[in-house]
């Protein structure tokens, strides 16, 4: 067992699951989407991105690209949240939460690709 692979896989799948956890639930219901979960998803995604730095293979480059996409989408979702509450100054409403959640949905897709790449890599190595 390779500890590096464990950590790598852990963060990639964790990023995906947290992302999924935030995304799941009715698109317009504010109470189903907790900000702490979005925060955790951003953090874990950033860690996963940094873990992918410095791998010069083609697969490594694609890995990095998916994680960068996911991180950008999640950061954008958080910025929309901050904009609604602190810049506009209204509490969260259904319209705005639907933007946040759909952005995180995009990130989820990127994270799923990342997991698929991880599985493909594992299967190809066959050990």
């Amino acid at each position: 067992m390779n500890l590096e692979k464990v950590i790598f896989g852990f963060f990639i799948i964790f990023a995906c699951t947290l992302n999924f956890g935030f995304f799941i639930g009715d698109l317009e219901r504010v109470e189903l989407h907790h900000p702490m979960e979005l925060f955790a998803a951003v953090v874990v995604n950033l860690v996963a991105t940094v873990l992918k730095f410095g791998d010069r293979t083609q697969l490594g480059a694609t890995h990095l690209a998916t994680s960068l996409v996911a991180s950008f989408q999640l950061v954008a979702a958080s910025l929309v949240w901050v904009w609604q509450i602190y810049v506009i100054g209204h509490p969260m409403n259904g319209e705005m939460i639907s933007i946040v959640v759909s952005l995180s949905g995009g990130a989820l897709l990127a994270n799923v690709f990342s997991v698929v790449l991880l599985m493909g890599e594992t299967l190809r190595q066959g050990r």
């Binding site: 900000p35 702490m36 953090v43 860690v47 940094v50 730095f53 410095g54 958080s78």
Partner: protein, 565 residues
């Protein structure tokens, strides 16, 4: 550039993850701990506020407690976070600074910068591998002649020297081994602007590897290599496409030429000297008996030349043992040994040891017993130049001077090199004729040499050959001043090459054919004016008939019509 980015990303992976984790813990914790607002309601900080507070706290800016005063549990957590984040930042910044000082990182950065600068060179350039005495000399000579150079030298200190020497444009320099293919590629040998590669490393095997590598990577590249041993020279010459220069053999060969026909060497030195310098006096080397001090590669090259000329010689060297060679004495450099070698009644002393002090000592001792002896002295170290000059030897061997001369000749005007090779084969009288012709037609200063190619793709040459109604186009036409035809340019045609056959000192009335190459010498103004024959159509017609032919179609019709009328 890719390498450097990936190295930074890879090295900073751990510090960046640490920083993210530190922020996540502090911000997450702060957002979970309950706070109290001025109305007394229990409300935790939002994630946004927690991130804001942590951002200015972690970077030690400290705006205070926002949006309202903290409770004690929050303060406890912030205290903890401050220490945690200071550790995180210290670790990250420390890693960044360590990366900047890291040897690998600096090597990669220097390499990226080098290949970036090489790619940025917009003028023709030469690649110079090896920056020792000869390399430094040649680099500056090329720079003075207006060429850019790219320097590759494995020794870091030597490579750094190029940066502090007086170059008009500082050359890109890389401290690396040019035997590696990727180093050669980064030094620009694939660039269309790369004119040639010169390998002047200290060891023959290195030069050999560089030359072969460069030739394989770019077969059309002109390559000039120094080889001090015969093995390396033969290897490289059989490989083909590489010009090999052996400084010892070159000097020995020059000595032989001046023994036979001093005028040839005189022509050679004059034509390759810096333009404008005076014609050197013919150096008459006496035949007689020779004494060689030092029997290394230099001594051996001279001895082999003397054998071919049938000249009697004696040599001594404290390090050489060769029982088969009876003319070689074993002895240190003392007066007694010099007398044993017969210096008192010798005609020539070759002080060719690889230590300058020994050469100077031997010269002084020999002159004491035989004041009229002809002295050939070898200078090994650049810093001994003044001492060697002070000895007032009749001939001086300086390896770097020979290398610079030979390389420039090979690189700048290959046709001049071919001319000199032809001249060496020819009789001594031809050389005297060359001297007469050049001093009559050009003057006493050393001339510049260039090649004139009758390239019919050039507008001027097309006109000269095809638009003059079959009138022959002669060498003498190229000697007329294109601005004032009755005046002659200060040029002299030395060689004509047609279909690979060379003719020395062609007659001025020789009719030219398309594709001919002519070696001209003359002053630089004449060279510039002569170029008009290539670039401007009608110059030849104007020079020969005194009339500018019409260029536009309408005027040509007009001319024909007016002639017919």
């Amino acid at each position: 550039m890719d390498d450097i980015l990936f190295l930074i990303l890879r090295r900073l992976r751990a510090p960046l993850i640490t920083l993210i984790v530190v922020y996540a813990i502090s911000v997450g914790g702060l957002a979970l701990i309950p706070g109290v607002d001025p109305q007394g309601n229990v409300r935790p900080l939002s994630i946004f506020h927690a991130f804001y507070v942590m951002s200015y706290t972690a970077t030690t800016i400290g705006f205070g407690e926002l949006p309202y005063p903290f409770t004690d549990p929050q303060r406890l957590w912030v205290t903890f976070s401050i220490y945690l984040s200071v550790i995180g930042w210290a670790y990250t910044l420390g890693s960044v600074i360590a990366l900047g000082n890291d040897a690998t990182f600096r090597a990669i950065r220097a390499r990226s910068l080098f290949s970036w600068r090489v790619r940025g060179i917009s003028e023709p350039f030469y690649v110079l591998c090896g920056y020792g005495q000869s390399g430094a000399h040649l680099g500056r000579a090329l720079d003075r002649l207006g060429n850019r150079t790219v320097i590759v030298e494995p020794n870091v200190e030597r490579a750094a020297r190029a940066a502090i020497q007086d170059y008009s444009t500082p050359p890109p320099t890389l401290a690396a081994d040019a035997r590696l293919a990727d180093v050669l590629e980064d030094s620009g040998i694939h660039s269309p602007r790369c004119l040639g590669l010169i390998a002047l490393a200290g060891e023959d095997s290195v030069n050999q590897a560089i030359a072969i590598g460069a030739h394989v990577l770019n077969p059309s590249l002109q390559i000039v290599v120094r080889a001090k041993s015969d093995v390396a020279r033969i290897n490289l010459e059989s490989f083909g496409g590489v010009q090999v220069i052996n400084p010892f053999d070159t000097f020995a060969f020059n000595l032989r030429v001046s023994l036979r026909a001093p005028a040839i060497l005189q022509v050679e030195e004059w034509l390759t000297a810096t333009p404008g310098s005076a014609c050197p006096a013919a150096q008459v080397v006496p035949r007689g008996r020779w004494v060689l001090v030092g029997f290394g590669r230099f001594g051996r090259a001279i001895a082999a030349m003397l054998d071919r000329e049938g000249i009697e010689w004696r040599a001594f060297d404290p390090r050489s043992f060769e029982d088969s060679e009876k003319r070689l004495l074993h002895g240190d450099y003392t007066e007694g040994v010099l007398r044993d070698a017969g210096v008192q009644d010798a005609d020539v002393l070759v002080a060719g040891a690889d230590v300058d002090a020994v050469n100077l000592g031997a010269t002084t001792l020999a002159r004491r017993v035989n004041p009229d002896i002809f002295v050939v002295i070898r200078q090994n170290q650049m810093q001994d130049r003044a001492l060697i000059e002070a000895a007032h030897a009749d001939l001086k061997f300086v390896q770097s001077d020979i290398m610079v001369n030979e390389c420039l000749q090979a690189l700048k005007t290959p046709m001049l090199g071919r001319f000199i090779a032809q001249l060496r084969e020819a009789e001594g009288e031809v050389a005297s004729k060359v001297l007469d012709r050049v001093s009559n037609e050009v003057g006493a200063g050393a001339p510049a040499a260039w090649e004139f190619v009758c390239d019919v793709l050039q507008p001027g040459m097309f006109g000269a050959f095809f638009q003059r109604g079959g009138e022959p186009f002669r060498i003498v036409h190229l000697s007329a001043d294109p601005t004032n035809p009755p005046e002659r340019l200060r040029v002299s045609a030395l060689m004509l090459e047609r279909n690979g056959v060379a003719q020395l000192l062609p007659d001025a009335d020789t009719a030219l054919k398309p594709g001919d190459r002519i070696l001209f010498v003359g002053d630089e103004t004449a060279q510039r004016l002569q170029r008009r024959y290539l670039s401007e159509p009608g110059t030849i017609a104007w020079v020969t008939t005194g009339r500018e032919p019409p260029r536009a179609l309408v005027f040509r019709w007009w001319r024909q019509w007016s002639r017919a009328a």
